[in-house]
Subunit: 96 residues, 2 copies
């Protein structure tokens, strides 16, 4: 649970699930509202936990690509199940 803790991790992982490879600035734009400091920190966290990879591309200017590892991709189903539990939970409350 600690591995997935924090306000932004699910959002970042979800974005990477949809896009395969993204650069830092891409993520900054796609993950709405995140500050560069937080994005940097969360990416470092997830790289340490081997959910994502960070590869420097020696273009000019230099770019950095972030992508999910195989372990990272397994989070996909988990996000789906959490989401479907959430909607089921709301429906259960609504229909009681």
């Amino acid at each position: 649970m600690e591995i997935l803790s924090g306000k932004w991790k699910f959002h970042i992982l979800g974005t990477l699930l949809l896009n395969e490879k993204l650069r830092f600035m891409d993520l900054l734009r796609e993950v709405e509202g995140i500050a560069p400091k937080m994005l940097s920190k969360e990416l470092q966290d997830m790289e340490m936990n081997q959910l994502i990879t960070r590869t420097i591309v020696h273009t000019k200017p230099i770019t950095v690509e972030y992508a999910l590892t195989e372990a990272g991709k397994t989070v996909g189903p988990l996000i789906d199940e959490l989401a479907s539990w959430g909607t089921a939970y709301r429906n259960a409350l609504f229909h009681q």
Copy 2:
């Protein structure tokens, strides 16, 4: 996700999944390490979110019984899936 946030909710829910009905002092003893303040606060949270019920029993001395609602019981499978993701994740890292 906010509904299940906090250090103790999964632990309390897990304990209630195993026991059906528990009193405040029972939970304080079974949820290892929790302080009465935190238990009280988490129970209030979950009662508000209709995951558990709180029923006063007019014994002497008075006791209070906490139990899962139907909505609360649906958290069971979710806990299982989070747990199995966790072990699968650890195995994936170990065997790489």
